[in-house]
Amino acid sequence: MNTFPDPRTSRRFTVSSSATRWLGQTVEIGMVPVLVLVALYLPFAYFVIPESNALHLSLFGINLIGQIMCFALLALALDLVWGYAGILSLGHGIFFGIGGYLMAIYLLNGAYAETHVLPDFLQYMGASDFPAAWKIFSRLDVTILLTMVVTTLVAGVFGFVTFRSRINGVYLSIITQALTYALMLLLFINDVGFGGNNGMTGFTSLAGYKLAGVTTQIGLAVCSCLLLVAAYVGARYLARSSFGRALIAVRDDEARMRFLGYRTHTLKLFAWCLSAVLAALAGMLYVPQVGIVNPTIVSPELSVEIAVWVAIGGRGTLIGAIVGAIVVNGLKFWLTAQLPAVWPFILAGVTLVIVVYFSNGVWGSFKAAGSESKGGRQ
């Protein structure tokens, strides 16, 4: 961490580096209007632009964009804890899953109220009525609030125990990974009551709007874009504040921060809970767009993949996480359709190249070229 000054990173101000820096700043701020424009473009592209035009978007395309925006939000959440506080979570799918499952319970509430038919898995379990505890989630605002509370509690308890016990680095990553796997196995069991490996589906409406309706689907995609923008603006404000710098300091030398009088576990816990809530909100928006939630949402594969998106885009940059998630998932949707057998190899190859040659990720390396130093990162 603490190395003697490297001649390559000593001060140098060249035209190209200041131009890079200017471009970097512009893109980081420009991300906000671009995402807002995308949000505005979605309904326009469907309703106004004729189908023959290349700029027209199908409902399938819009739905895809909405899903990808949820993944970008998930990546942003991970970057906040990994890139800034140095906590590599390989279990952020847990929070994504909490949001997804609680949203699914809300949606099942709505479906039951309309059809009065119990979901299949509840019938198989021998239930005669909709579970009473689930009826708490019969209103959307209550569901959103409760999801945030539950996520904060789960993240808070886990974070409090691990951060106070000073469990760091790879040990923490392994624990989070194991927990996702355990949760997935738990959810696979039918008797746990969350639908087993079939999960929950058969949703009909969301806040009074027919889920199958065109406007609802486009609305969800637009919401995903806008929430991503809001989260990005908030995260960027936090990251550039003294608080963000304190997180960076914890990441680079936690022990030193304690000797400066900081309760580092409190700092980490705050970032951790905030990140968990963002991930849960992403899950809440994701599930109605895909129309189903099942245990694969908390599979270790997804949780590891989030870290891959962030690593490719560049951790500790926020924008890198968003770009990484959008590019990788965009490619994934396209290539798994074109060359399904080759996709895992492409992803693995790209990840290897990034890790070996651009350890700061795409955006991190770009920024490093424009700044006077890469700073004290290993």
């Binding site: 936090l238 504040s241 003294s242 304190a246 680079d252 921060m257 009088g261 309760r263 890469k374 004290g376």
Partner: protein, 251 residues
């Protein structure tokens, strides 16, 4: 030396520290007083850094007492609480936050872990800004405030770290080998800087191997050997102590 006896800052009595059977410090008793600069010397493994670890809460003693101002039992507190009481420490290797700017390092230090809401709003009082400017000048980095700390030279990083102690205005400053790896010129500047740390409200403790440097800055020298106090006194009396010569200086 030390005629008007000033109050005790750190009081250590019967201190023993063990690492899985190995006795790093055995039955050590000493006092650091306000207004003095104390040097601790001794061969490698004498327990010098361990002593600082105990005072700052990094290591728990197996036996003995460590008190601040004779009232606060430091052995019962963690690093954070001890740091907030006003005991600052500089580590052996420079540990500044290299990814942050020089000024941002000092801002972290001046907050001392307090006021999370102000941290989110990045707010710092005018007085704190003035203090940071003062310290930047004291450590000779007044023109480097906006540089990334990782690009500073080795000596500058050491000074920045001393500056991080200074902004928090601690009662006790512990410096672990502040001039290791420095050029002669940098060492001379560091000696000046440490001399400026001296104040009637502050106790300064320095671990150092460089004897000329110790002679220049220290009021009183304590010699540790194998976890025990071998001798204490002025640099001259310590230099002429036959036991000290035998274990340390003579080699």
């Amino acid at each position: 030396m030390n005629q008007p006896v000033s109050p005790t800052a750190i009081y250590i009595s019967g201190l023993s520290v063990r690492f899985s059977g190995f006795a790093a410090i055995t039955n050590l008793s000493m006092e650091f007083r306000y207004g003095e600069i104390r040097a601790i010397i001794g061969p490698n493994g004498a327990g010098k850094t361990t002593l600082m670890d105990v005072i700052t809460g990094k290591t728990r003693p197996a036996a003995g007492e460590v008190f601040l101002n004779k009232v606060t039992n430091l052995a019962a507190l963690d690093e954070t609480s001890i740091a907030r009481l006003g005991i600052g420490r500089k580590f052996q290797k420079p540990s500044v936050f290299e990814a942050l700017r020089v000024r941002e390092n000092l801002e972290l230090a001046i907050r001392n872990g307090r006021g999370y809401a102000d941290m989110v709003r990045s707010r710092l009082g005018a007085q704190q800004h003035r203090r940071i400017d003062e310290v930047l000048e004291t450590i000779g980095l007044e023109n480097e405030g906006h540089r990334i700390a990782g690009t500073l030279s080795h000596g500058q990083k050491q000074w920045l770290e001393i500056g991080m102690l200074l902004v928090a205005d601690p009662q006790v400053i512990l410096l672990d080998e502040p001039v290791a790896g420095m050029t002669d010129h940098e060492t001379a500047r560091t000696a000046e800087l440490i001399a400026r740390l001296k104040s009637p409200e502050r106790a300064v403790v320095v671990i150092e191997h460089d004897m000329d440097f110790v002679g220049e800055i220290a009021d009183l020298v304590s010699v540790l050997h194998e976890g025990r106090l071998l001798g204490e006194g002025s640099m001259d009396s310590v230099r002429n102590d036959p036991r000290v010569i035998q274990v340390y200086l003579g080699r």
